[in-house]
Structure formats: structure tokens, C-alpha cells
């Protein structure tokens, strides 16, 4: 399978998983909704650290990491 197609497929699966998790955790509030919280924490965490890395890149200096 083409690499791009595979990547697109994986992203679609991940999005579907996230949508299902959001529905279970925030809309249905079922007994088992906590069983899907891990996906959401993972996605929120990665998003947060990407944003923080972007913000901190504004005060980064070019050059070798030293002092």
C-alpha cells in the first residue's frame, strides 16, 4: 500500500477513535466512559506540548546548546 494512503488511513482511524471517546466522555457520561479517557488525555497532551514548544521557540536562540 502506498505510504501516503496508509498514513491517511491511520489518521482517519485516530480521528474516529477520538470522536468516539469525546462522545462517550462528554456527551453520554456512561459508566464506562472513563475507559476511553486515555485517548483524550494523550491527544490533549500532545497538542498542549506542541503549542508550548511553538511558544517557547519564539525565545530560542540559534547555536549549539551550551550556556
Amino acid at each position: 500500500m502506498d505510504k501516503k494512503v496508509l498514513k491517511g488511513l491511520l489518521i482517519m482511524i485516530a480521528c474516529a477513535v477520538l470522536v468516539v471517546s469525546v462522545v462517550f466522555v462528554f456527551v453520554l457520561h456512561s459508566e464506562h466512559s472513563e475507559l476511553l479517557e486515555g485517548f483524550l488525555y494523550g491527544a490533549i497532551g500532545v497538542g498542549l506540548f506542541m503549542i508550548m514548544a511553538k511558544i517557547l521557540s519564539l525565545i530560542q536562540k540559534e547555536g549549539k546548546q551550551d550556556d
Binding site: I11, A14, L35, G42, M52, Q60, E62, Q65
Partner: protein, 629 residues
């Protein structure tokens, strides 16, 4: 069985003294291995009791061996991880002086842990600071010397705050036993003093600044003792403080954000110390007030949740020492074999250093809290305690911290071992490095798979045994979190290492430091010179007066006279004399003119104005006259 009832610090201090006599050959190697094993055995067989008490003044006793469940678990892990560091150092350290520093550092950390009073604690606290400085300075470069200076300045500041807090506490209570402190200025100073060692934000900057610049073996020693002693003292004196718990959450996120941005592997690990300390600080903050003082005797104190929180903090400290020591050892081995510090220069080491790679991956999985490894157990305890205490923001921050930890350790292991790099040359680490790495990595897995090994030695084992580490919801949630994070890491490809410097708060400290030096060298120095001149003149006057008092009195009178009249002379010279000179010159000029010179004509308007002016003056005079009458 022979029992050694001696404070553990004596073993290592004695070892530090003896190692200078052993040269650099095989005898020294055998001695070091024996010392590591003997030290651990001695600590392992200490029973809970108090001994080695020395009265120094009336009412003050120094206690060098106070063992309860809390100090014992600290002793076990310090002796174990420290012993590993000693054996690891055999391959890389040539100078006996470095061993002396390492052993003094280890001994003083154990001395602080088993200290029963604040003064003994302070003595060992300061020995720790100076002996660890040696491990940084032995690296020999300018950047190590500079960083060592910043390190010791921070620790001297913390030591001063600690001593001031101890003195105030003693003055208020008359008691120097290590215990919870009453709120007040002493409480605040003690918190700062301990907070410097525990890397509270914003006092954390000495840690990522100095640890990557120490020697390879020195970094292993440094990563074990200073911060963990801080956490231990925090548990002893400040347990149950909610602000401390939230500080833990902040440390967890702050450390991990900066860790993700690092390229230098030891700097990345150093920021992760700050982050992992956050879990411990949060656990201590959620525990019951005064829980850390009593240890085993406090079994009846506090709720089950508070006990779980303190257990979680101490369990994470124990586990963190296992996986963090392994990680520093692995990266030390990589640096030792390749001479490279940065992730951008590494890669392709998985085949060349397979045992190092496996131990590093185990430690990375442990610190990331993956199911089946020890980090999963202790992080879970702290996060579960936060959920039960309904501190949802804290629980959320700690969970996000796990995501960040996973991101940075995928980055570390992938770019160090698995990324393509055909030019790198390396071979497997020496045996003395591999043995401690394998032991600590094995313990990470053993505790992860069978957590009861750890539960037995925790301060509140009843609470620990009530905790279900492998509950379905928690396990499944962790697996989902890991899957999603790993997927997004590789799909987005956003967190690749780069050669950039990221500013931390120490940028401001350095600016402020330079400003302070400028202030000292310029305005303050000028003021000092001026003051010196004045003082010298006063001193001269006294000398002159002493030689001839009559002349001196006359001089004083004259000086006062001159000082009093000088303003009048000044005013005279500035105003009266110029005006006088003007009229004098004008008079001379007028006299020189002929009497019959033509009059100057005025216009009619000017004449009318003058008449009106005189009339107005007349009216004013009449008015005043009438008003006075």
C-alpha cells in the same frame, strides 16, 4: 549475624579517607566494589531506633542515627543507587579526588537522611553542597567551573535560608528535633532552604545548568542525592501543605516542557528530574499534616488517601532513583563511547551498544509510566490520591506530565539508538558500567511486575496494599494514552531535536547578576571612594588637633567662621558686586557726558502713561491710608 549499629555516613567518610592510600590499581577497584556492597548491607540491617546521641550544650543533643520506616527506605535506595554509581565510576574515573568527593557526598546525604535533629541535618546539608561541587569542577572545563560557581551560590543561599529557619524555629520552640514547623518567618525560610534542594520553581535552574556539565560519573552521583534529600526533608517537615501539592503539579509540567526542547541528552534528563520531582512534591503536599515526622508511629494518623499520597511520593522517589540512575548511566556510557552529547549527533547505536540500548529502553518505559514497569505503579498512586482528594486540576496536570515524559523519552531513545547514522563509531560499554545498569533496569521491571516488593518497605504499607495498581480502568487508560501519544509523535514528526538554546528563568538571574556587579563596580565603588576621602579627612583633623589643641581650636573656629560667611561672600560676588560695578560704570559714563547734550524726547502716549501711573499710585496710597484709619 553481626549487627552494625553505626551511622552509614561513617562508612563512606572512612572509605573517602582510605581511598587516598590505595593508589590507582586493582586494590582500589576491589575496595570500591567491597565498599558499595558493605555499605548497602550495613544500611539494610539497620532496625528502627534512635542512637548516637551526643549532648553538646544544655538542652541540645545532636542525633546522628534516627531510623524509622521513612528514613530506612531512603537509606536503602541511597545505598543501592549510590553503590551502583560507585561501581559505574570505576570505568571512567581515574582521580582519587573524584572518588573522595563522591563518597563524601554519598555519606553526607545518608547523614542528612538519618539525622534526628535540625543542626545535624544542616551540617550534612552543607557537606553535601561542597562535596558535590567537586564532582562538577573535576570536569575541568571553563563552563564546568562557571556552572559550579552558580551551583554553589544557589546552595549557599539555600543553606543560609535553612540555617536562619532552624535558628528561628529553635528560638521559638527550644526544640531542634526534625519535625513539622509552625507557620511564621522560620517556616518560610525553611521552606525556601529545602525548596532550593527540591528544585522548586523558580529555584530549579541550578539543576539543568550544572548536572550536564559534571563528569560522567559525577552526574550519576548528582542525580541521586541532592534533590531526593530535599524531598525527604519536605516530607518530614511540610507534609500536608496544599500549596506544596500544586507546586508539584507546576514542576511536573514545567520540567517536561523544557525537557522536550533539549538536544543535550544529560540536560534533557536533568529537566526530567525537575518534572519527576513534581510527582513527589505533589504526593507530599497531599499527605496528612505531620505524617512525615512520625513514620511508622503515625499509622493511626491521617486518612487512607493521605497515607496513599505519602506512600506514592516515597514510592516514586524510590522508583525514580532506579530508572533515572539507569538513564544517566546509559547516556553516560553513550557519551563515554562516542564523545557526543547531543541527540542531533547520535543515532545508529542500537546495534553497536545493544545492552545499553535495552537497559535504556527499560528505564525509558519505566519513567514514562508504561504498564508493567515501576513508574506506572508510583505515578498511579500519586495521581489516584489526587483524584480521591478531588484535586482534579492537579490530577490532570500530573497526567499530562506523563504524556510529555513519554514524548521526550520516545525522542531520546529513538534519536540516540534507532535513527539512521552510518558514520557513528562506538562499541558496547565496559563491564563495570553495564553491571549496575543491568541491576537497576532489572529492579525497574521487577517492581513493575510485582509491586508488593516495594509496598513492603513503604511508610504506610496498609494503604499501599489497598491500592490496586492493575485496576482495569487505570490500566486501560494508560495503554490508550500511550498508544495515542506514540501514534501522534511519529505521525506529526514535530518533536525532532534541533540545535537551539532555550532560555529558562536563569537568563533573568544572569542579567540581574550582571546588573548587580555593574552596580558594585560603578556607583557603589564611587560612593566608597568618596566616603573613604571624608573619613580620611576627619581622621587627619583628629591627628592635627591632637598634636596642637590650641591651633586646632583656632582652626575649628576659623573653619566655622569661613563656613558661615562663605555664602554671604558668594552672594556678594554673584549679585551685589556686579550691580555695584554696573552703577559705578554708569555714573562714570554719565559724568563724562556734556551737560548741554540734547534731551531725549518722549512721545505723548508715554507722557500720558506716566501721568496715569502717578495717579494710580496716588489712589493706592489714599486707599491704604483710609483702610488703615
Amino acid at each position: 549475624m553481626i549487627e552494625f549499629d553505626i551511622p552509614p555516613f561513617l562508612i563512606y567518610f572512612l572509605g573517602a579517607a582510605l581511598i587516598l592510600l590505595l593508589g590507582k590499581g586493582k586494590v582500589r577497584k576491589i575496595f570500591l566494589v567491597a565498599l558499595a556492597v558493605f555499605g548497602f548491607v550495613c544500611v539494610a540491617q539497620i532496625q528502627p531506633h534512635t542512637g548516637w546521641v551526643f549532648p553538646i550544650f544544655s538542652g541540645i543533643e545532636l542525633t546522628f542515627l534516627h531510623a524509622d520506616r521513612l528514613s530506612l527506605i531512603m537509606g536503602y535506595i541511597f545505598a543501592l543507587a549510590g553503590g551502583g554509581a560507585i561501581i559505574y565510576a570505576i570505568s571512567t574515573v581515574k582521580e582519587s579526588g573524584q572518588y573522595v568527593c563522591g563518597l563524601l557526598y554519598m555519606g553526607s546525604a545518608l547523614g542528612a537522611v538519618f539525622a534526628g535533629d535540625f543542626f545535624t541535618l544542616y551540617i550534612f546539608w552543607e557537606i553535601m553542597a561542597f562535596s558535590s561541587l567537586g564532582l562538577i569542577w573535576y570536569e575541568g572545563s571553563k563552563r564546568a567551573r562557571d556552572s559550579g560557581m552558580r551551583y554553589i551560590l544557589f546552595h549557599l543561599f539555600g543553606g543560609c535560608a535553612l540555617l536562619a529557619g532552624i535558628i528561628i524555629h529553635y528560638t521559638n520552640t527550644g526544640d531542634i528535633a526534625v519535625q513539622s514547623i509552625e507557620p511564621g518567618i522560620g517556616y518560610f525560610l525553611l521552606l525556601i532552604g529545602i525548596g532550593v534542594n527540591a528544585a522548586f520553581i523558580p529555584f530549579h535552574t541550578w539543576l539543568p545548568d550544572s548536572y550536564p556539565k559534571a563528569t560522567i560519573a559525577g552526574t550519576i552521583f548528582l542525580s541521586i542525592f541532592t534533590t531526593k534529600t530535599g524531598i525527604y526533608m519536605l516530607a518530614r517537615t511540610f507534609s500536608g501543605m496544599e500549596a506544596v501539592a500544586y507546586m508539584g503539579g507546576a514542576m511536573c509540567l514545567y520540567g517536561v516542557i523544557f525537557a522536550i526542547l533539549q538536544n543535550d541528552v544529560r540536560k534533557l534528563l536533568s529537566y526530567h528530574i525537575v518534572s519527576q520531582l513534581g510527582y513527589m512534591v505533589a504526593g507530599v503536599g497531599m499527605a496528612g499534616v505531620g505524617m512525615g515526622v512520625m513514620g511508622l508511629d503515625a499509622a493511626a494518623m491521617g486518612t487512607m488517601v493521605e497515607k496513599l499520597a505519602l506512600d506514592g511520593a516515597i514510592a516514586h522517589l524510590f522508583n525514580n532513583l532506579l530508572f533515572k540512575t539507569t538513564l544517566f548511566m546509559c547516556m553516560g556510557a553513550v557519551i563515554y563511547r562516542t564523545g557526543k552529547n547531543n541527540l542531533t549527533d547520535m543515532g545508529g547505536l542500537a546495534r553497536k551498544m545493544p545492552i545499553t540500548m535495552i537497559t535504556c529502553v527499560i528505564a525509558a518505559l519505566s519513567i514514562s509510566g508504561i504498564v508493567g514497569f515501576n513508574g506506572y505503579i508510583s505515578k498511579g498512586m500519586v495521581i489516584h490520591a489526587a483524584e480521591l482528594k478531588e484535586m482534579h486540576i492537579l490530577a490532570f496536570a500530573l497526567t499530562l506530565g506523563s504524556v510529555g515524559t513519554l514524548i521526550s523519552f520516545i525522542k531520546l531513545t529513538y534519536f540516540a539508538f534507532f535513527a539512521k547514522n552510518e558514520h557513528i563509531e562506538a562499541k558496547e560499554a565496559p563491564l563495570f558500567m553495564l553491571v549496575p545498569m543491568c541491576i537497576t533496569a532489572f529492579l525497574c521491571m521487577a517492581i513493575g511486575l510485582y509491586p508488593k516488593l516495594l509496598y513492603w518497605i513503604l511508610p504506610f504499607r496498609d494503604a499501599a496494599f489497598h491500592y490496586h495498581a492493575f485496576a482495569l480502568g487505570h490500566t486501560l487508560g494508560t495503554v490508550e494514552l500511550v498508544l495515542m501519544t506514540v501514534f501522534l509523535f511519529f505521525m506529526l514528526g514535530y518533536f525532532a531535536p534541533h540545535e537551539k538554546i532555550t532560555y529558562d528563568i536563569d537568563y533573568l538571574y544572569r542579567k540581574a547578576g550582571r546588573g548587580f556587579i555593574w552596580f558594585c563596580e560603578n556607583p557603589l565603588a564611587r560612593f566608597a571612594i568618596g566616603l573613604e576621602k571624608v573619613v580620611l579627612r576627619i581622621a587627619d583633623s583628629f591627628v592635627t588637633f591632637g598634636k596642637n589643641p590650641i591651633r586646632g581650636i583656632r582652626m575649628v573656629v576659623d573653619t566655622i567662621g569661613v563656613a558661615l560667611l562663605k555664602p554671604f561672600v558668594f552672594v556678594y560676588n554673584l549679585v551685589i558686586h556686579p550691580v555695584y560695578r554696573h552703577y559705578e560704570r554708569d555714573l562714570e559714563e554719565v559724568k563724562m557726558r556734556p551737560a548741554e547734550e540734547p534731551l531725549e524726547r518722549m512721545s505723548i502716549g508715554t507722557g500720558v502713561l506716566l501721568v496715569l501711573l502717578f495717579f494710580a499710585l496716588y489712589l493706592i496710597a489714599m486707599l491704604i491710608h483710609g483702610w488703615l484709619a
